[in-house]
Amino acid sequence: MQNWPRVSGVQFATMLRPVFDPISHYLAYGATDQKTVRELAGSYDGLLVPGTVAAFQREGTGGFILTLSATEAAPPYVIDPRFPLFQQPLEEPKKSHEALAALLGAPELVRSRNPRPEDFDIEMLSKVARRWVAFNSGYGTQQADKFDKYAKRLDEEVVPSDVRGPEAILAPYFVCSSTTDPWWQRSKELFEAARACGTNIPVLRVVACPVPDQLGELLMAIRDDRVVVWISGLRELDLPPEELAEYGLALRAARARDQRCFALYGGFFSVLLASSGLDGAAHGIGYGEHRTWRELPRSGPPPARFYLPRVHRYVGQDLAYQLWSRNPELTFCGCAICNGGPPVLKYHELMKHSVLVRQREIDEWGGLEPAAAAERLRGEHAAFVEDLRAARLPPPVRTAASRTHSHIDGWAEALELLDA
């Protein structure tokens, strides 16, 4: 396995360019995404692997990720420790939760009662950090059992000696609301413990909070020049413009301190924040709007929805077909999957289409300053509304159709607030 060299501060920045090279486009990998990830190599910059998946599907996910890392394209990847999972009661823990806790050497992390900061003493945090760093450092060698099986599925020859480990180690973290939140102290201890392991892979801090206006204070309290950020449950489609603007302001202030940020999860609005200081973001394939740190009782692949390019969001395929049948321009997409055709695609085609459109959005919108992006959004929104009106949709679908674009003005207003 190729090892990352030990680095100084300057080399650190150079080596990390894939994650923080604006505007990086990472995919949050799920177990059903192998086909999409494999076939779209080159249409995204890297992968974000959930720690739960990496722990529970060590052979499957490990084999897949590592064979991919040995290819010519070799997308870099990082593993999200998903540690906020253990910051909540898990009354019906999944096997992946238990697998992650076991991997961290702390099965007691899975609790049915509400955890408290006092449950995480320095001894436990140090152990968790050590085990996590060791898992990441040895990822390439420990998960090679299924290498041959997954190597056969690729279109090129790969060999185990070309396998690469993670690009960086994301330190375990907690979701925190402020610097006086007891979880913040624990989060800092986790990061310091991970960094103290002395690995030759860069260790990155994750700053996670529940609402946008908490991010600024947390970022100001640290001196890292590279930070992974996450606002849990950031509902880009629904939040008031002022709250979306708070996110942008926090990023802008971070950029002014030469603090570069990468979003652990983000939709199209995160692309619009590139000029405000977001160097990149990850998104789920087929998911797009947000992810929350509270675990959902069910899991599984995302629903089969169509990413509607003109309004930058997912809609039901049925509705998309309705719109297309009235006016193909409403759903037009020239990506290699859609080719200008009807928006009724098979599951993996939907997933691939969503990734290709996101990359195009990054290419076309990522460099725009807030004012220019706002102006373009408003112009395109007006055109879409006019096309919708001219389509004379039947009454049963008019409400659903109006919901498809109701968020655009809010985004434009948020950008205008940033420009003010």
């Binding site: 929805r305 395929q317 049925d318 009724v344």
Partner: protein, 131 residues
């Protein structure tokens, strides 16, 4: 609703010996409440709602593009306005309220060829995996 509806569909010849009957057919990211696929290849889609007639009509409209016939099955008589919408869109209306009444039929219409083939395949695949 189903307990009254299914026997009625048999009595009225809409379900016959060769008809494949599927409840909750996965379709384009959602589920169609009831799908009948005849031996001749005609597909009838039915959306069942005790209330929310508007939502039922929306889903029945979506089904129109793949199915030969599309119905809403309601727990009470629809308003005049909803009935006019259903008529304009070729959506049939059945009311199940103790007894089953066909309020208006759904004229057979050619569906989108690809969607029609796809829904027939979906029915076939669904039935085969459960046999």
């Amino acid at each position: 609703m189903l307990a009254d509806l299914l026997p009625w569909l048999v009595r009225t010849g809409r379900i016959r010996s060769q008809t494949e009957v599927v409840l909750e057919l996965p379709w384009l990211g959602r589920r169609i409440d009831l799908v009948l696929s005849s031996g001749s290849g005609d597909v009838t889609a039915l959306e069942l709602k005790l209330s929310s007639t508007g939502r039922a009509l929306e889903q029945a409209l979506y089904n129109r593009h793949a199915a030969t016939r599309s119905f809403v099955v309601l727990g009470s008589d629809p308003t005049r306005a909803n009935l006019e919408v259903a008529e304009a869109l070729g959506i049939g209306v059945i009311v199940v309220n103790g007894i089953v009444r066909l309020v208006r039929s759904s004229p057979p219409r050619p569906a989108d060829a690809e969607l029609a083939a796809r829904i027939r395949r979906a029915v076939r695949d669904y039935v085969e995996t459960r046999v």
